[in-house]
């Protein structure tokens, strides 16, 4: 009984945090674009004259979406048209279940792992729901009964499928090194030290893997430089026929995907919730010296570390989005099939070779 | 009621029969193809049920191979349908009688 309550509390906390962070991302996006374009940015929305660096813009955006007409094309498919944004939103929401956001918490006799589900299949669970986001996009394109929407949906289908292959292969190296699919075990492995001082983060063990994973994951979020399915400035994409909250849901799903990708990057390549040299009992510095801390404080520091990492990578993705222009479609496909994929396979081979030599 | 191996096998048989009915009664090549996938999955279910019954992962590995074969089969089969559609402008299998005289 108590376990169920704790589990529900964890789910509730994660969902609430995720949704509010995704809402906050709209503000980050506006501010970042303003900074990049030398504007002041979202600073008009106010409540009784208070502006709070444009944070009310989030609410204004939500309200605007809420009061718009919900339009379904008369010749479109009503049910699938509604299902599209839901199917796009749902996978991003549930993928967080396997991501460990903190170390185990000991409260008296209670042992609470700060992760919703410790699954044996770990990363595969993420890929399962990653493959589901495809349906939302394609059904949205098809059910609008609009040539341009459908072409956008087809572009999205080809892009998502291609980059999912790259995403999977670029992760194999890291799975080989840690020998598991469970994310909490992967994270714990990363708290060891290399050469006595360097944290054994995935980025140091799999630098190429990270460089291949980042573009593949960004392509899955369908944002600039990979925004060909959407093409907001000219090509017209799969959600052309959407308005109101359904349109908002697509946008929201996009921001959630950014958060999922940053959490994944942090978990797999940057030590997850681990701060270098911080262990269960406290800090142990490589130059000698220790600083003992109670378990609760350590857990809180780790939680905060994870959030800082997520925030950093979310910011990095927004920065990339406002820096680069869009790829041409053939360039994007070439990058996937002739760039990332062969390099990922090479990465697997080299990793296997090194592992063989080291473990001999 | 305790769920036993037989329950899963009955479910598998029902799914397989539905697949057979689909193949026999439909004329749309895509739907026939989908029915074949249905039959394959009925078999997969039986394999996984047996794997648990005997505590042997061999059955699950067989599912792995069935999925691989299905992937290859679908890739080629759908390519054939695409070519067929280009030639005949239809996916109705009654209109495809090249081998008949």
């Amino acid at each position: 009984m108590l376990e169920t309550i704790i589990l529900l509390a964890k789910i509730w906390a994660v969902l609430l945090t995720l949704v509010s962070l995704a809402g906050l991302m709209t503000w980050v996006e506006r501010k970042e674009s303003a900074i990049m374009q030398d504007r002041l940015g979202a600073n008009r929305a106010d409540i009784l004259g208070f502006r709070v660096i444009g944070l009310f813009q989030v609410m204004a955006d939500g309200l605007k979406m809420f009061f718009k007409e919900d339009f379904v094309p008369p010749t479109g498919h009503r049910l699938l048209h509604t299902l599209g944004p839901i199917l796009a939103f749902f996978p991003a929401l549930v993928t967080f279940a396997v991501i460990p956001f903190g170390s185990t918490l000991y409260l008296g006799s209670l042992v609470i792992p700060l992760q919703i589900a410790q699954l044996n299949i770990g990363i595969l669970y993420l890929l399962v729901f990653g493959s589901f986001s495809f349906y939302g996009v394609v059904l949205a394109g098809w059910s609008s009964n609009n040539k341009y929407s459908m072409l956008g949906g087809l572009r999205a289908a080809a892009q998502l499928i291609s980059y999912e292959v790259c995403l999977g292969t670029s992760l194999v190296g890291i799975l080989m090194i840690y020998g598991t699919l469970q994310l909490n075990v992967i994270v714990d492995h990363q708290n060891q030290l290399l050469f006595g001082f360097l944290p054994a983060w995935g980025i140091f063990l799999q630098p190429l893997g990270f460089l291949l994973f980042l573009p593949a994951a960004m392509a899955e979020t369908k944002r600039v430089p990979f925004d060909l399915p959407e093409g907001e400035s000219e090509i017209i994409g799969y959600y052309t026929e959407y308005s109101g909250l359904k349109f908002g849901l697509f946008y929201f799903a996009e921001f959630m995907e950014i958060l999922v990708v940053s959490a994944l990057i942090a978990t797999l390549f940057f030590g997850g919730y681990h701060l270098p040299w911080l262990y269960e009992e406290g800090f142990h510095f490589p130059w000698g010296g220790a600083w003992d801390l109670p378990n609760v404080v350590v857990a809180m520091i780790r939680l905060a570390t994870f959030f800082v990492k997520i925030a950093f990578f979310a910011w990095l993705q927004v920065l990339i989005r406002w820096t680069l222009p869009r790829f041409r479609y053939d360039q994007m496909m070439r990058l996937c099939w002739k760039g990332i994929l062969p390099l990922a396979v090479l990465n697997i081979l080299v990793t296997g070779l090194i592992l063989l030599l080291v473990n001999r | 009621m305790v769920v036993s191996l037989n329950h899963y096998l009955v479910l598998s048989a029902i799914l397989f029969s539905i697949g057979v009915a689909g193949v026999l009664t439909r004329k749309n090549a895509i739907i026939i193809f989908a029915s074949i996938e249905l039959m394959m999955n009925a078999v997969n279910l039986a394999f996984v049920a047996f794997a648990r019954h005997w505590g042997d992962p061999g059955g699950q590995i067989f599912v792995f191979f069935v999925v691989a074969v299905a992937a290859a089969e679908v890739a080629v089969g759908l390519a054939i349908i695409v070519v067929l559609f280009r030639q005949k402008e239809t996916v109705n299998i009654d209109r495809v009688n090249l081998m008949k005289w």
Binding site: - | L15, V20, V76
Partner: protein
């Protein structure tokens, strides 16, 4: 608990499977097939085979059904006039029913040997480790052959679907 889940999932599976063969529009049919596969994956999880369930959704729903959808959209296929004769329909359903009866008779009359010895715990059975170990030792040759089959599938699909270039 397991019984309730089994009943729920199997009812949903059978319903979606029926809809696959009853729908006029191929797109709806394919979408119902995706749902069937998803409920089957849920049944696999009940059968303590989480890895196979994941494979099922990633490859079947995430790749194979995507191909179906892609072809449907590419050819812009709508429901076609099938013109199935009622006699054929009745025969088809009858054959399927006879098959079901035969399967039931076989199931009743042939005893399935009980679990003999080499049992593993439920968690160990479907884990990635145990499957991986068997796949790369006992089933190594079939695994390699499967990779060749997939290669042949890729080449075959490209050769077939490629448009003839006029010289």
């Amino acid at each position: 608990m397991e019984t309730a889940f089994f009943l729920l999932f199997s009812a949903l599976t059978i319903f979606c499977a029926l809809m696959v063969i009853l729908q006029k529009n191929p797109l709806a049919s394919v979408l119902f097939l995706v749902m069937t596969l998803f409920w089957l994956a849920a049944l696999f999880v009940l059968l303590s085979a989480p890895f196979i369930a994941a494979i099922q959704v990633i490859i079947y729903a995430g790749a194979i059904m995507v191909l179906f959808l892609f072809v449907l959209m590419l050819l812009n296929l709508k429901a076609i006039e099938e013109g199935v004769k009622p006699a054929l329909k009745v025969t088809g359903v009858a054959v399927a029913l006879i098959l079901l009866v035969v399967a039931a008779v076989v199931l009743r009359s042939v005893p399935i040997p009980a679990n003999t010895g080499f049992s593993r715990s439920a968690a160990e059975l479907g884990s990635v480790e145990s499957i991986g170990q068997m796949l790369f030792s006992v089933y190594l040759l079939p695994f390699e052959i499967a990779s060749f089959l997939l290669l042949a599938g890729i080449i075959g699909a490209i050769v077939l679907a490629k448009k003839d270039r006029k010289p």
